[in-house]
């Protein structure tokens, strides 16, 4: 077991974990952050995407011990109190989700994308979300959602 100290959604957690524990499993089973979900075992689906020190990562592909000393933002920590993050607002407005299982990862991938490129074209949005699979929407409304989020955040889509 190894000791880790990780700040998740603004709260610091101290825990003893086995080195083999995946970050996503620690989030879900260790500290009850079940908003982050697992969809595959080959890093393809991106459902487990979180922000690690501000950048999107697939939390199934990071060991919990590797997050020691880091800050993690999950879908549960994105809103500011009752104030939705613009990406969350945009996904609702543009019907960017159906079953919602890919949504936590998709939203955080979009947050990361817009952080790097506040003014993405449709092609850039599609490229930025390439690591997140959705089986419900055909991506059409997800792409629209991200473009709309860019507008809400003051960037706007090319």
């Amino acid at each position: 077991m190894q000791h880790i100290s990780v700040t998740v959604d603004g709260m610091e957690y101290n825990a003893e974990v086995e080195p083999r524990t995946l970050l996503v499993h620690w989030l879900r089973n260790g500290i009850g952050k079940v908003g982050t979900v697992v969809g595959c075992d080959t890093s393809n689906c991106g459902a487990c995407t979180v922000l690690l020190d501000g950048r999107s990562v697939k939390s199934c592909s990071v060991l919990a011990v590797q997050a020691n000393g880091s800050e993690v933002t999950t879908i549960q920590g994105l809103a500011d109190g009752n104030e939705w993050h613009p990406v969350q607002t945009a996904f609702k407005e543009c019907h960017g989700l159906q079953c919602g299982y890919c949504t936590p990862g998709m939203v955080l991938a979009a947050v990361d994308l817009l952080g790097e490129n506040p003014n993405p074209s449709e092609a850039e949005i599609r490229e930025g979300l390439e690591g997140n699979l959705c089986r419900c929407t055909g991506y059409h409304n997800i792409v629209k959602s991200v473009a709309y989020a860019a507008e809400l955040m003051g960037g706007g889509s090319k």
Binding site: N29, W84, G100
Partner: protein, 789 residues
Amino acid sequence: MTEVLDTANAIGRPIKRKEDARLLHGQTNWTDNIQLPGTVHMAILRSPVAHANITKLDISGALKRPNVVAAFGAEELGDLNGSVPCVWPVTDDIVMPDFPALAKGKVHHMGDCVAVVLATDATSAVDALEAIDVEYDVLPAVIDMEKAIAPGSTIVHEDKGTNTCYVYNLGGGYDEVAAKADVIVKRRFINQRLIPAFMEPRSVVAAPMGMSDEITVWSSTQIPHILRVLLALVTGVPENNLRIIAPDVGGGFGGKLQIYREEILVTQLARKLGKPVKWTETRSEDMVASHHGRDQIQDIELAATKDGKMLGLKVTLLADMGAYLQIITPGTPLLGMFMYPGIYKMDAYDFTCTGVFTNKTPTDAYRGAGRPEATYAIERIVDELANELGMEPMELRRKNWITHEEFPYTTVAGLTYDTGNYEAATAKALEMFDYDGLRAEQKQRRESGDPVQLGIGISTFTEMCGLAPSRTLGALKYVAGGWEHCTVRLLPTGKVEVITGTSPHGQGHETAWSQIASSILGVPVEDIEVIHGDTGRAPYGMDTYGSRSLAVGGQAIKAASERLVDKARVIAAHQLECSPSDLEFVEGVFSVKGDAEKSQPLGAVAFEAFTAHNLPDGVEPTLSAEATIDPQDFSYPHGTHLAAMEVDTETGKVTLRKYVCVDDIGIQVNPMIVEGQVHGGLAQGIAQAMYEGASYDEDGLLQTASLADYLIPSSMDLPSFITGSTVTPSTTHPLGTKGVGEAGAIASTPAIINGIVDALRPLGVNEMAMPASPMTVWKTIQAAKGGAA
């Protein structure tokens, strides 16, 4: 975020979804989120081979591993090893092999369950699997359907003596019309095996309740109600003691229209151990253990006159059942049986389907279930007939389709289509597509010898959905009905509960059902709570599949809401001292006709019904109403889909440049949700044409057993879609709705392949296997050139 609504017009509005707030904040209740105190976790040892006798199975090693509570093979499980049921024995002489939850001495497909370990944590359970001692005597695998039914084949289930599950025939008279035909086009289409690959892996938790016999099962399922009946029958748990909850469910597409062996195992082991038991599949397990879809060899003949009048259709299918029959495995191809003639008029139709056992994962419903296969066959062969006759493919369709004046129309397959307007949908689609402009570009590219050729793919489809009139299902030997139930409760404070038997997994029922109730009750959408997916709270239902929930369940909501208004009217009349017939009900308020001052809102009536201080004689307190509706008929959405395909003839790479569809699904309750359903269906249908295919090697090992190998399209592999609609209300469904869940998946596959073939016609290409991978396309081009590769 509150929507201010004119409730009378709640139907037809693109209201933002109620579901989204929780889904967008991670406040969801997926089955795998459930962490009950004292839970024991189950892990499954699965067969790594397709067909083998288990010559040794010793679980004792696992029992010695840390934190292990129990382990079972079939022998240890004994009578608790229930068998997976099939509820659709399509013929009297169908062959139905036993499908035990844990394999009994023999495995029949890669992924078959061999043993289970239960431990106090999931990691220990998985670790202990490695301590199970198992040996297999591997047998030849039955993979190819034609070889499977040929003499001398290895038999999947030796006790049955055959790999033929059933032979089903319908229709007749084809040979007579074919004898008079000028042209007969024959094609063999392979409708390849697909994997539903819903994003949320399956998960089951079963918890015995206290010391009673009651047990609650949470499952990521589309069918909590059907599951309750079947689990009760399989496990012997009295149905009244069994509660099934489908919490938030992350997609299904037919893949969760099932009673799975793991649901049986978890339930039985929770009873045996007296503890909550939980199992969540990995994606690798899902790919081999959740049922697959499609997988048919389709031999199709279309007979016509030389001027393009279709005379008759002959369909001969081999349908791969896989290793076992699951809930509706044998019936799935037959759901397409009535749809092969599509939208066309003809004189004769012969249909034969042979179900075949192989050593593969069982097949069952996947988005469209039988109808995509039928639509693919008819829309592909119509293009081939057009080519044979030198006719423009849309012209040939026009010449043969049912015109809008001819509805209701009884097809050669025996269905009566109530309404439709193929001309209108097609005209709109052609305009949106710039059909003429693209044909001009195609001509130019052909003339200039452009290495990137352009093709236009057409699919003018219809489908049958709104499953289903119970008598029809009975005639087809399906053992359940097709009705749907709704209870509407008006609470004392004027809020409303709509309790539905449908069980959504992404469709947005909470929003759309609120809209239907709102439009009748005059209660704002946000004051309506939709309760579903829990047999404890919503006891009656037939669940969600086959584009049925709105078409059938919507009728029940309408009927129950109207009955509630009828009862409220009696109470209101009593309060207002008038006759019920003197009242009008507008926007949630009863008022006396001609005296608007005398009025009472529905909420006030609700409070009167609650206090019961002043109810008319004979009227019971509380205000609720229910309805169980058996649909009058199927519904028949239709549409015209057009795809512009670019084919790089140097590499074989295909690009979907533009996709236009105009769907007629009748009245739309929430056009935003409708559009989303179309998009998602398109993605899956396009994926069948271009990307996906479950592939087995000759030993029966699934080669596409992860999302790294089974290629679900990402955002970069699909374009934005151009969607439109026409509205021809259903006349057999009181809301005028038809259903939309499967339309996109049914229509799009042939549009894509027709487009690719159209691009390559000048090179002599007249067929294209699916998925149209670059290698497949390139090799098809080379073969057409005469093997010049």
